[in-house]
Every structure is written in structure tokens, then in C-alpha cells.
């Protein structure tokens, strides 16, 4: 069921798309696909990859998470204010930050599954709530402990020839793949995504699955927040804003069906890299901002036409 042929084929398309972008880039801009360049893009893509993991989970059941930007930002600020830059406090701070993500995700899940609020509304509202809380509680990032840096073990995630961050991404990839393809939970996720009523009738706890997925999405947004703080040393306000639409785009370019029920995280990894590669390539070619936006949109459309189409109605 999970490795059905259309799903697997879409992953291949997504990978082919990434390779195509890299090859075109390398031809037009020598050195674009060199290892050092690729490594730089992979690190940047890993942040998108983290948030897209959460976004993919909710998209698999036909939902959407618009609360990602400020969950990410909130978790990032919790991490620094709780750790105060001390290595000994890092584990607690990381757990706290992930906990914030999980809590907000849980709220989203309960709202969507039990109260019947449409996912768009629930998560959009939650994004506003988190923005207000984050700004208010940190007094606009001027609180006494807001000047702390991320603890040094976290910051070393990004040093070295082969940054540990990439291994962390591999870890996320393994977790997602195992969770979705090898566990009962994963099979239930796809079942709910394909047909929630049928899944419910066959005994799947649809609400429980939904709540778990939104919670995980919050955790992944928080994880991205932690990674971004580790990368830049400190959080800033608006840290998560670029990831609202980018997470959706990465999921879709990765071959996940927006209607739910189909898709694999391997494709999302490829999708994240494709998006970053396109942006990087256009900047390297010194395409002005307006051209970058237009071409970015056209590339997404082209990819959608290639493998994002729905079945024809008869």
C-alpha cells in the first residue's frame, strides 16, 4: 500500500527534478554542482526540510499547517532564553523548545479533530496567537535573557567539512521513512489520507491520528527553530516567516499529493533541495528580484504539470 507505484514514481520524478536543476545550473554556471556548493545548498535546504517534514505529515491527511512561522520563532526564543548559552542547560532547553512546539501542535490537532475547526482557520489563528505571545512575553526580544547565544554543542552542528546538521537531516529522513512505511501508525496515516470515512469504519482512530500528526508538525517546526538558532547563534523576530509558503512548496515539489494519502519524505528532501537550488541559481545568475519571483513561480508550475496533476474526471 505504502510503496504503491504512483507514489514511488512521484519520488523518482522529484529526484529527477532536483538532478535536472543541478545539471542545468552546472552547465550555465560552472561549479554550481561542486561538492562545496552542494554542501552549502544542502545546509540551507535542511531547514526547509525540517518544517516540510511536519507540513508533509498534516498534508498526508488532507490538512495544512499555517502556524509554522511563529511556532518556529517561539521555539527559537525559548531555546536561547532557557539555555542562557550554557551547555549544561542545553538538554532541558531543547526539550522545552520541542515541548512548546508539541503543545501548540496538540492545540491545532485538538481544534481540527475534535472541535471541527477547518485546518486553515485553526492554524492561521494559532499563528497569530503564537506571534502575539512570542512578541509580548519576550517584550519584542529585548528581555533580559534574550541576548544569550545557543549553547556551543548546538552551534558546532554547522562546523566542519561534513556538518552534523546534515546527519541530523538524515536522521529526520530515517525517522519519517520508518514511521510512515514500517509502522502501523504510518499505514493508518495513509489510510486516513486516502479516505477518512473508510478508515474510520475499518477501526482507525482518525481523530487520534490527526492530533498526533499536528503535534508532530509542531515538533518539527520547533526543531527547525532550534536548528536556525544554532546556525545564526541567536534568534531574531520574523525568523520563521519565509517558511510558511516554502514548506508547502517543498512538500508539493516533493511529489506529495495535496489532497492527502500519497507521498514519501524522500521526495520532500528532493523538493527542498530543488527549491533552494533554483533560488541559489537565479541569484548566482544575478537575476533581479522580480525575475526571480516570476521564474520561481514558473518552475513550480512546470513541476506541477510534470507530476502534480490529479486524476482526470471521466
Amino acid at each position: 500500500m505504502t510503496l504503491d507505484s504512483p507514489g514511488a514514481r512521484r519520488v523518482l520524478y522529484a529526484l529527477a527534478g532536483t538532478v535536472a536543476v543541478l545539471v542545468v545550473g552546472a552547465i550555465l554556471h560552472p561549479g554550481f554542482a561542486s561538492w562545496s556548493s552542494l554542501r552549502g545548498m544542502l545546509v540551507v535546504a535542511s531547514f526547509t526540510g525540517f518544517v516540510a517534514a511536519g507540513q508533509m505529515l498534516v498534508v498526508l491527511v488532507g490538512g495544512i499547517d499555517l502556524s509554522i512561522p511563529w511556532v518556529l520563532n517561539g521555539a527559537a526564543i525559548v531555546l536561547t532564553t532557557a539555555s542562557l548559552g550554557q551547555t549544561s542547560r542545553a538538554p532541558v532547553a531543547i526539550l522545552l523548545a520541542l515541548g512548546v512546539g508539541a503543545l501548540v501542535g496538540l492545540g491545532n490537532g485538538l481544534g481540527v479533530a475534535w472541535l471541527g475547526v477547518p485546518a486553515v482557520v485553526m492554524t492561521l489563528g494559532m499563528n497569530g496567537v503564537m506571534q502575539g505571545l512570542t512578541l509580548g512575553l519576550s517584550k519584542g526580544l529585548t528581555c533580559a535573557s534574550c541576548g544569550s547565544y545557543a549553547p556551543s554543542p548546538l552551534r558546532s552542528l554547522f562546523s566542519g567539512a561534513l556538518p552534523a546538521q546534515l546527519f541530523l537531516w538524515v536522521g529526520v529522513g530515517l525517522f519519517m521513512t520508518v514511521l510512515l512505511t514500517l509502522t502501523t501508525f504510518g499505514r493508518r496515516v495513509y489510510a486516513v489520507g486516502v479516505n477518512p470515512t473508510a478508515a474510520f469504519l475499518s477501526g482507525v482512530g482518525v481523530r487520534g491520528v490527526t492530533v498526533a500528526l499536528y503535534t508532530l508538525s509542531g515538533v518539527f517546526a520547533a526543531l527547525a527553530g532550534i536548528a536556525l538558532v544554532a546556525y545564526g547563534g541567536q534568534p531574531s523576530l520574523g525568523l520563521g516567516d519565509p517558511y510558511l509558503f516554502e514548506s508547502i512548496a517543498a512538500v508539493v515539489v516533493g511529489g506529495v499529493s495535496i489532497l492527502g494519502g500519497r507521498g514519501h519524505y524522500l521526495g520532500v528532501i528532493a523538493g527542498s533541495l530543488t527549491l533552494v537550488a533554483v533560488t541559489t541559481f537565479l541569484a548566482a545568475q544575478r537575476v533581479p528580484e522580480y525575475g526571480r519571483l516570476v521564474i520561481y513561480g514558473l518552475v513550480i508550475l512546470a513541476i506541477l504539470f510534470a507530476y502534480g496533476r490529479e486524476k482526470a474526471h471521466d
Binding site: G40, F47, A113, G140, Y231, G238, L239, T280
Partner: protein, 372 residues
Amino acid sequence: MNLPRHPGRAARAAVAVVAATLLLIVAACSDAGSPASTGDAKAGKIKIALSNSFIGNQWRVEMENVYKAACAMPPYVDEVECSVFNAGNDVSTQSRQISNLISQGVDAIVINAASTSGLNGVVQQACDRGIVVVSFDNTVDNKCGLTVNTDQIKFGQQLAQFIVDELGGQGNVVMVTGVAGTGADNDRNKGAKDVFAANPGIKVVATYTGMWDSATAQRNTSAQLPNLPKVDGVWVSGGTDGVIKAFAAANRPMPVVGGEAENGFRKFMAGLLTPKVKGMSIGQPPFLSVISLELARAVVKGEHPKESITIPFPVATSDNMVPGETVFPDLPDSFFADFTDSGPNAILVLCQEAATDGTPCPGKTLDVKLPS
């Protein structure tokens, strides 16, 4: 989720709880927000409101904090009744707020606009009713209002000239721009491009946006760097510390940097963070809000002609870094280190608490010298 479901009793209970909580929070918060606007206006106190657009970045927070601090310090605490409103990046919201301020009958409105052109209509209505309108930073185009600003074209020129001079007119330069479609971004880029174009030895090898955001600037720089030849100079419109962090992480030789006034950038310039960076830091000062407050007050009181003001930038270079004055080791990297002017000709002097907490500086009268 497209499962058909019907909320039951639990849902109704939850709604009631949420609604009750909401009411409670509103009640608890309702007067915390604008402390200066409560209480009866004493006779002779003039009402000046700050209408800000976007609040989700540190510069805007500091700008509001110093405004609140100034309002709580003499002479403003005795003469002016202040209030502060945020609209977000939405022109309609800000228009509504300004209309409401007109209804409230304020004497002056100080504006940092969501769009330089988007408020022309409502500002005209304020002017028509004799309200003094002073806009700063992202100013309002409408000529009936006054403006307090720095010269954004000069911002671009001066940083670019610094880089050209440091490099002796020879070398590869990268430009990291801001948010496309805004007046400030256009002006800054124009100023820089003119200077670089006038120096044939300077080659601009890359131009990309950093969205005036350190994290974005860092990500974009990291992705670009492997594709770039040796970089001798970097011109940054905003997010400077992110650009430097990307160079450091890639183990590239550190170029000469001309950038904004982020505290993180200044920490690198002062050698508080490694590697030490040779650079020039020019900032759009957050205290523009306080100068606007003073201008508004003076114009309402008839002490100052109705004229716009252009103030010089506070400029800092890596040679004159003073902890506690131009760089702040204990404050976040994203903090803007130019919240106060300094030097003998300072327009005004503010303390650190004013910028971080919006509380008044102890035992001080705030003296704002408007440049003529």
C-alpha cells in the same frame, strides 16, 4: 481533514471556556497597552500618537521603546499625552488606526508607514483637520505631512565609498540588498550602484537579497559563497551579522564590510566576536521616533516652523568601537546598536533601558536638539 463530523457538547463547553478566557484576557490587558493614553488629559497637554505599521522586527520594537521612554521623561511627561499603535504590514489596518486617531482628536500623529504611498489618502484627511503629521523611516509621500528621515541614497553611497576606499578602488564586491519594492531599498541600492559604477576597478560579482533579515542574509550568503570568486568587499543593506557569520562558517577570508547598525555586526567590528571585521556601520537610528515626537510637539506649540528634517546618520567604524556606547556585549546580535546618538553634537542621548524596556532614563530631562 474531510471527515464529516459534528461538534458535540464537548465542543460547546470548549467554546464557552475559550470565549470566557478571551474576555478575561481582554479585560486584563486592555489598559496595560497604552499607559500614557489613560487618565484625563490635563489642560494644555497635547496629544501625540505614534502609528507604527509592522512590529515583528527588533528595529521597530526599539523604535517604539525609545518613544515610550521619551514620553515618560521630562519635558514630554508633563507636556504630551502619548499613545502607541501597531498595524502590521497592512495598509488598510493602518489607515483605520489613523482615521480613529483623527476621530479621537489628537493634535499630532507620528507615523512609520506600512507603505510610503499607501497612507496618502488618510494623511490628507488628517492634514485637512489641522492635525500635524510627522512621518519617519518609511515616510508618507503626501507633501502635507512633515518627514524626519536620513538620506537613504547617501546611506548606499557612503558605505560603498568606504568599501572602495578601503580596497583602493580594486576588487570584487558583493551587494546584499533589502526588501524589493520599498523606497528605502531602491534608494540605498541606487546610491551604492552609482559609486561602484564610478570605480572601474570594482567588480560587483553578486547581488542578492537578504530581506533586511540576518537569518535570511546568512542563508542566502551561505548558498552563494561557493559559487563566488574571492570577495574583497561586502555591501549590506541589512542583516549584516548574518552575512559575516556565513563568511566565517565557510572559512573564507573576511572581506571589508559596509553594513547596518546591528549589534552583532558591531560585536565583530569590536573584536568581541571572532574574526574581527574591518567595517563601517551606518544605521537608520531607532530614535527617529523621538525626533519626530519633538518635531510634532514643537510644531503644535508653534516653536518650530513646519519643515521636514533630514538628520545625519550615526556612523561607526571598526576603529571607534566603544562598549556600552556603540556596541553592547550583553544585548542580542539583532539589536540595533544606534538607539542613541553620541558625541559632542549628539541630537539626543538615551540610555540602554530606554531601548530595551521603554522605561525612562533615570533622573534625566530629555533634550532633543532639532537640526535646523
